[in-house]
């Protein structure tokens, strides 16, 4: 009962402003018809609102119209023109770095992902040709050969194709040091991130330097 009364009491302010739904309004009015406490609170709230509305809009003590010097771009440690000139070269550099990073990542994924994991030092071009070489050698074994061991040649090449677990690279097992490719990726990512942040700061700075048109005198 008390909780329900409290709920109605909280609705009185919205009721004064006509912000209750029809259903809420009807329920509140039914409650008000029997609740003297809510009736009194509603009257007091109305008096409060009336008193607040009696406060006049204060008149500004002076004109707040802006003068050109008040809205001049704020002084900056870096002058705006030089930053503006830097924006395009920085964007170009960032784009180039992003492309370089993407290429490196692609090469990296090609190297270390899946079954084709090769030894770290194997150049990419060499690795790409390795399976075809093995095939060629296998075909050669079927052809007449001076040596009967020719048939075993694909097996001999297998260690190159599927290295031993020790030779297989796993994250953090790169044999005592960061792989050069990973180091290059991390380096590029750091430089790229810094460049993007600086470019963002330049863009924000340039936007703040709003162009001001001062009206001619006598207008």
């Amino acid at each position: 009962m008390f909780g329900r009364h409290r709920g109605f009491s909280h609705q009185l302010s919205a009721y004064i402003d006509g912000r209750l739904s029809d259903r809420e309004g009807r329920a509140l009015e039914e409650h008000l018809a029997t609740c003297l406490s809510c009736q009194r609170e509603l009257q007091e709230l109305r008096a409060t609102v009336e008193a607040l509305r009696s406060l006049p809009l204060a008149e500004a003590p002076r004109s707040f119209a802006l003068r050109p010097e008040q809205i001049a771009p704020r002084p900056s440690r870096w002058p705006a023109p030089s930053l503006g000139a830097l924006a395009i070269p920085m964007r170009l550099a960032a784009a180039s770095l992003a492309v370089a990073l993407a290429v490196l990542v692609l090469v990296d994924v090609g190297d270390w992902g899946g079954d084709g994991a090769l030894t770290p030092g194997t150049p990419a071009a060499e690795r790409a040709t390795a399976p075809s070489q093995a095939q060629d050698q296998g075909q050669a074994a079927q052809a007449p050969s001076p040596s009967a061991e020719g048939a075993d040649m694909p097996q001999e090449t297998q260690p190159k194709m599927a290295p031993t677990p020790e030779a297989r690279l796993a994250p953090g097992q790169e044999g005592g040091g960061l792989h050069p490719l990973r180091a290059a990726e991390i380096g590029l990512a750091v430089v790229l991130g810094t460049l993007i942040l600086v470019s963002g700061a330049v863009v924000v700075h340039n936007r703040r330097a709003i162009r001001v048109v001062i009206p001619p005198k006598g207008r």
Partner: protein
């Protein structure tokens, strides 16, 4: 007679950097902005500083104004003014020598009404001073919501835009603020308008 230019046109020209157009908006709304600052800060000098800061910030940020579906330029401007007041309060809290309390005389914040008898004026000013003290005791968000609603006359939708809050939050802040003020006003029941003095 020249037709007054509407807000949207002045805003568009201001967005192109035309200071004269922006200053027409300043003159149109400076009483609203100053009045809000005065009610929020209770100190004329601080309110003046906050109002000026608000107009400078509004000019710098006017390109970000996109117009409102339900609320317009006034609500956007009052939001900036409220932020300027909040900054002013924080600045003064951080530097106690600038504190609002006690640095400015408790001046009447109202203008005399026409045809008002002297004793009525005294009573009205007393009520205004008591209301101002009561408002100052509210938490900032409730004070802002109540002033925007009951002094500035904004709709709930405009207040939601001006305070970046949901309608439910606005409704709740107004209700709690009014409820708190009601309790404070009842301590000075004799200052209330005549029909309300008899509430027992």
């Amino acid at each position: 007679m020249q037709t007054p230019v509407d807000d949207d046109e002045l805003v568009r020209r201001s967005q192109n950097g035309e200071l004269g157009a922006f200053n027409q908006l300043v003159l149109r709304y400076q009483n609203h902005v100053y009045s809000l600052c005065l009610r929020l800060l209770s100190a004329p000098k601080a309110a003046e500083d906050a109002a000026q800061d608000a107009f400078i910030a509004a000019f710098r940020g006017i390109r970000s104004y996109r117009g409102g579906r339900q609320a317009g330029f006034r609500a956007w401007l009052l939001r900036i003014a409220a932020n300027a007041c909040y900054d002013e309060l924080r600045r003064r809290r951080a530097r106690p020598t600038l504190s609002l309390a006690g640095t400015e005389p408790d001046q009447p914040l109202d203008l005399p009404a026409r045809g008002e008898a002297p004793d009525e004026r005294v009573q009205r000013l007393e009520l205004a001073a008591h209301l101002q003290r009561s408002l100052a005791s509210l938490p900032f968000d409730q004070r802002l919501a109540v002033v925007l609603r009951d002094v500035q006359g904004l709709s709930y939708e405009e207040i939601a835009q001006a305070t970046n809050a949901s309608l439910g939050t606005v409704k709740s802040r107004i209700a709690r603020g009014r409820s708190h003020l009601r309790r404070l006003l009842l301590q000075k029941r004799e200052l209330l308008p005549d029909p309300f003095r008899r509430i027992k």
